[in-house]
Amino acid sequence: MTTGSTASAGDSRVETIARLGQWRIDTFGPCSYRRSDSFRLGIWNWYLSVEKNRVMVVRLYPEPCRLAKEQPPLARFMLRVSNTAPGRRCCVSPVHEKVLRGSDDFVWQVDSMFHGRFTVDVEFLDLKIASINGGEPSPIWPDEDMLQPLASRSSLRCLSRMLSESIHTDVTIRTSDGDLRAHKAVLSSTSPVFASMFFHDLRENQLSTIDIDDMTLSSCSALLGYIYGDIDQGEFWKHRVALLAAADKYDIADLKSCCEESLVEDIGLGNVLERLQEAWLYRLAGLKKACMSYLFEFGKIHDLRDEINAFFRQADRELMVEMFHEILGVWKSI
């Protein structure tokens, strides 16, 4: 590890462990003022400085930068100065609790003078981010920002291994063209439909098997991939219409809206009527609005004469009425 110290002396470095910073000063040198290298504790970089004139003064302050300005530390800490020479002496400060912004916020006048080698310790009992506008200070320990993402990543890894390596699976899903293994508990916590299937003592629970004839092996494994947090964009894209149907059927709301958003993204001449039909079937207001606007506001319906005739012959009356109103709306605004 490099010391990062300035050229002045090799003993400017403050060693840190846990919440303790320790600065060993070998020789004070000819000047009356020494400042340590910056050292990191919590989210801030700190400095210690010692000034020796008639009396000895120790200061502690954060590096003057944007962070210290916008999120100033509220520190509860104590300092200690001691020498290691024979006849060991030691001065301990009271516990202070202060917002530290600059070098004048905390000044400790040490009772006695130290010469030769001595050590300055700073021990933080607690560190918080002081609120600038008078609110509650927010603690930085324990560091939840680090813990939460770590725990999420780890549980995702577990889940996807449970699926890919079939760890203790307890249910078979029979799709139209092959079987998959999964976990009742995982399925039940994703979908109230699966939950009720394994709650009642009907066939699925007795045989630990679900016959999902209306899905293919590949689209069902994309569904499981989503449920177990292990699906890539390509697979999602390829199966999104099937995933939409499954999300609607099994009441998985976030997957449904994610499919809808994706289907809005690539509306085009080749698919707009199909998309409109899907939007109507699954009651997707956003997708329906986008299709209607593509057709009528942007006038793309003129490029679809043949298809629209066939569409009108087959489409549901309720949907036709809605389309008709949409056309009237567009006419009105012209």
Partner: protein, 207 residues
Amino acid sequence: MSNQRKILKLSRIEVEPNYADRTWQIIEHGINQIFNHNDRELSMEELYRAAYNMVLHRFGEMQYNGLVVTVTRHLEEMRKSIESAEGSFLDELNRKWTDYTESMQKIRDILMYMDRSYVPTHHKTPIKEVGLNLWRDHIIHSAKIQTLLVDSLLEEIHRERMGEVINHGLMRNVIKMLTELGVYQEVLESINAFEDVIINSFKYLAL
């Protein structure tokens, strides 16, 4: 732009003749099996899928009305069996009520999509409430059952006062049922010994 755009094809379901009737028959058969305690072979996925597709393709109303008719038919059978119960009336009423609520829970789960989609968009009464209303109208409001119910409750209270040991669990279940149905007050008002019963039945509720 693709040169050969495909003409939209509607799904198989919509062109199938009698689709709705045949699907409802599957669901109705399932409901009958559940009420007849013959449901261990039933596939929840299959029934749910049938019910889901029916509502998805805008046959929600047919499903909703069909449900009311089918449940009513079973309630009529239950009514007869409760009215002609040999042995303890309260026992039989409680047994049928427990059966009924368990069956309705399964049926509600099979028809979950109707509750989620058709019911709110058409401002209908949710299935759970429909189930309670039908039980109240066909069982509790039957004149014969109402008389039997009041008499039996009074008799139990009287027996306990005479120092006999009665089935407190049963009393509690019956009173809980009446509370859930919102007819507790109604039943009480048809009793002359009004205060007596209130005092005593609160005791059972607190047990």
